[in-house]
């Protein structure tokens, strides 16, 4: 018997006669948050990332100001190409979650490949206010599992030394977020 058939047969025997269960979904699937932008900004800041909240019209100038003099990868635009020598990367995102201060990339237009937002030491991400949802369930509902997804909550960190959080191991040590309103 193949390993596959044997494992499946063992499972069949193991659970024969066991009761199935209903899944209670009494948890919150949506929340009323008065100030989504404010909550998201506060939670991103909690991870010691840098946050700006700006009217959409001022965002391009702000990006230029921040990236001036840096070798930046700009997915979909002109920019530095070599991953290893780039100073940073500037991207958009797919969804952002206020309650947890998370940005999610689905690596669609403007978001680059997974490596582009990983190898350089600095990541600047622009989030549109209408991309911010209140909690995790709404984010899951908006995302497409067929795409590779990267959920980012603050800069790279470790808790491996005496269980205290230290920012910056292998991923970008600096995360900067512009919320465009």
């Amino acid at each position: 018997m193949s390993a596959r058939d044997e494992i499946l047969a063992r499972i069949g025997r193991a659970v024969a006669g066991a009761q199935d269960v209903e899944i209670p979904r009494g948890y919150r699937t949506t929340q009323q948050v008065e100030d989504l932008v404010g909550l998201f900004a506060e939670r991103v800041d909690d991870y010691r990332a840098i946050v700006h909240v700006l009217p959409a019209a001022e965002v391009p100038a702000k990006i230029d100001e921040i990236v001036a003099g840096r070798r930046m990868i700009r997915p979909g635009g002109d920019g530095w190409e070599d991953l290893n020598t780039a100073d940073g990367v500037v991207t958009s995102c797919a969804v952002a979650i206020a309650e947890t201060g998370t940005i999610v990339l689905d690596h669609g237009p403007g978001q680059g490949t997974r490596a582009q937002t990983l190898v350089p030491d600095y990541h600047l991400c622009v989030v549109r206010a209408d991309q911010i949802v209140s909690g995790v369930p709404e984010a899951i509902a908006r995302l497409d599992p067929a795409r590779p997804l990267t959920w980012i909550s603050g800069p790279s960190a470790t808790s491996d030394i005496e269980l205290n959080r230290v920012e910056g191991v292998h991923g970008p040590r600096t995360l900067e977020v512009i919320i465009s309103t």
């Binding site: 193949s2 390993a3 596959r4 044997e6 494992i7 499946l8 063992r10 499972i11 069949g12 193991a14 659970v15 066991a18 199935d20 269960v21 209903e22 899944i23 209670p24 979904r25 009494g26 948890y27 919150r28 699937t29 939670r43 991870y47 201060g101 998370t102 490949t113 997974r114 990983l118 190898v119 995790v136 369930p137 899951i140 509902a141 599992p145 067929a146 795409r147 590779p148 997804l149 990267t150 959920w151 980012i152 909550s153 603050g154 790279s156 960190a157 470790t158 808790s159 491996d160 030394i161 005496e162 269980l163 205290n164 959080r165 230290v166 920012e167 910056g168 191991v169 292998h170 991923g171």
Partner: protein, 463 residues
């Protein structure tokens, strides 16, 4: 599962006694577990619907386990459709064989690894070494363990038994190119690890990972991490091999909305861990292989009481609250799964043939703190008591008395407790006499709730 995984013969009480005498270890453990406990409590407290999430998490896992055969087939179809290849492994040897052959087929002799309990359980690194393949751990804690020629002692923080100055020593000794003036400042240590691994990430062609979840409906794999070493391994190499226990399955995409709330808050005590990667099949030109691992899980599944252990999402919250773990340390459990979850999972996965495994169900005071914090509501005390009844009688009794003696350091008093069980709490001394007094001088004896302890005795007497 190899019974000698940690090269730790003996049994839990003997191992624990040694650990109790190591005051540095006790200090490190206490500091770390208390830090994380506090963080967990505060972020769990932020969610008004925590109990509802916990109930959903428990039910989703139970439903999955009840229909595991059907969902595994669905998973296989979805991964295959998305360009991945699925392999099935009955046991550790078969899984190791599959992985070694896949690596050899690439022509590579070095692989990078993301921290994974499943590959530790099957002792993959040694199996690969025997075939001339070197596996490099990339998680900071795993790196500390690997460089220190040591064993992991915690699920989430495998080097929890080490403090910063010990880590500095290990780096100075074992890392080529590490600066002589390396301090024991955690950011400096993290930076040293970054530099040490950077080149390796960029040149590696094969990576091996586990997964926290896999979704049957979509074929998606999910890895939660903090440092970015996971993303490096999952993203950069051409070939990705993921070894995943069959119980890691979730039926639908939507189920992630529950577990992505339960796991980070229970585990690192954060609202969300820094990085979560999700991928479906072969992505961005990679070759993707999924190895589905049984290795004793179907035996656990057949046990009506014990099967709830398969709900475990390896958050490690139960370790961080356990008074026995805090004193004994992770190594005493003699398996990759330490703490309360290890005490119920290890004897089920590999049987209770050895003294060590028969003693594990006694590695607990049955205080119930593990159940309280478990995000999927595994009733660990219930399984412990059930396993005690099933353990080979003589060996278990010996171990049981020893652990109890280790906890109370007074056999006679414990024997009397059988008759005065309801008054037991009053009998637990605040400070232990004799050679173990140093142990209690730095901490309080665990509270033993009378209710669960009485249950313990009743069950034990019936057995």
């Amino acid at each position: 599962m190899s019974a000698t995984f940690l090269g730790m013969p003996g049994n839990f009480p003997k191992n624990a006694e040694k650990a109790v005498q190591n005051s540095q270890l006790r200090f490190n453990l206490r500091k770390a577990t208390h830090t994380i406990r506090g963080k967990r409590a505060s972020v769990v407290g932020e969610l008004p619907d925590w109990q509802e999430l916990r109930a959903a998490g428990k039910a989703i896992k139970d439903h999955t386990l009840r229909n595991l055969d059907r969902y595994l087939v669905q998973m296989e179809e979805a991964v295959t459709r998305a360009g991945g290849t699925v392999h099935w492994a009955r046991d550790a040897a078969e899984a190791n064989r599959i992985v070694a052959d896949l690596v050899k087929a690439t022509g590579e002799t070095e692989v990078v690894k993301v921290k994974s309990m499943a590959t530790q359980e099957i002792n993959l690194n040694d199996a690969l070494a025997a075939e001339g393949i070197t596996a490099y751990e990339t998680d900071l804690a795993e790196l500390i363990v690997q460089l220190g020629d040591d064993f992991p002692s915690h699920i989430l923080v495998p080097a929890i038994h080490r403090n910063r100055s010990e880590i500095r020593e290990i780096f100075l000794e074992k890392m080529p190119k590490v600066p002589d003036n390396l301090t024991d400042d955690p950011p400096a240590l993290a930076e040293a690890a970054r530099l040490h691994l950077r080149e390796r990430f960029l040149k590696s062609k094969v990576a091996i990972s586990g997964a926290n979840f896999m979704v049957a409906e979509t074929g998606t794999l999910v890895v939660l991490e903090s440092e970015g070493n996971g993303r490096m391994c999952l993203t950069l190499p051409r070939t990705l091999i993921s070894v995943v226990g069959i119980e890691k399955l979730l039926p639908s995409w939507r189920d992630l909305e529950v577990f992505l709330q339960l796991l980070p808050r229970s585990s690192t005590g954060e609202r969300m861990n820094p990085y979560t990667s999700m991928w479906t099949g072969a992505v961005e030109g990679q070759d993707f292989h999924l190895v589905l691992l049984d290795n004793g899980r179907t035996d656990v599944l057949a046990d009506e009481v014990g099967r709830q252990a398969l709900r475990c999402i390896r958050c490690s919250a139960c370790l961080n609250v356990c008074p026995v773990y805090e004193r004994a340390g992770g190594h005493a459990y003699g398996s990759v799964y330490p703490g309360p979850i290890g005490a119920i999972l290890t004897p089920q996965l590999r049987g209770m043939g050895s003294d060590l495994d028969a003693s594990l169900p006694y590695a607990s005071s049955l205080c119930g703190a593990c159940y309280e914090v478990c995000p999927v509501a595994i009733d660990i005390p219930e399984v412990l008591v059930d396993l005690r009844a099933k353990a080979p009688h003589a060996a278990a009794e010996r171990a049981g008395m020893k652990v109890a003696g280790w906890i109370f350091n007074d056999h006679t008093r414990l024997a009397k407790a059988q008759r005065v069980a309801t008054r037991l709490r009053k009998l637990v001394p605040k400070r232990l006499p004799g050679p173990l007094s140093a142990w209690t001088d730095t901490r309080d004896i665990p509270d033993i709730p009378e209710e669960s302890f009485r249950d313990w005795w009743e069950r034990n007497e019936r057995a």
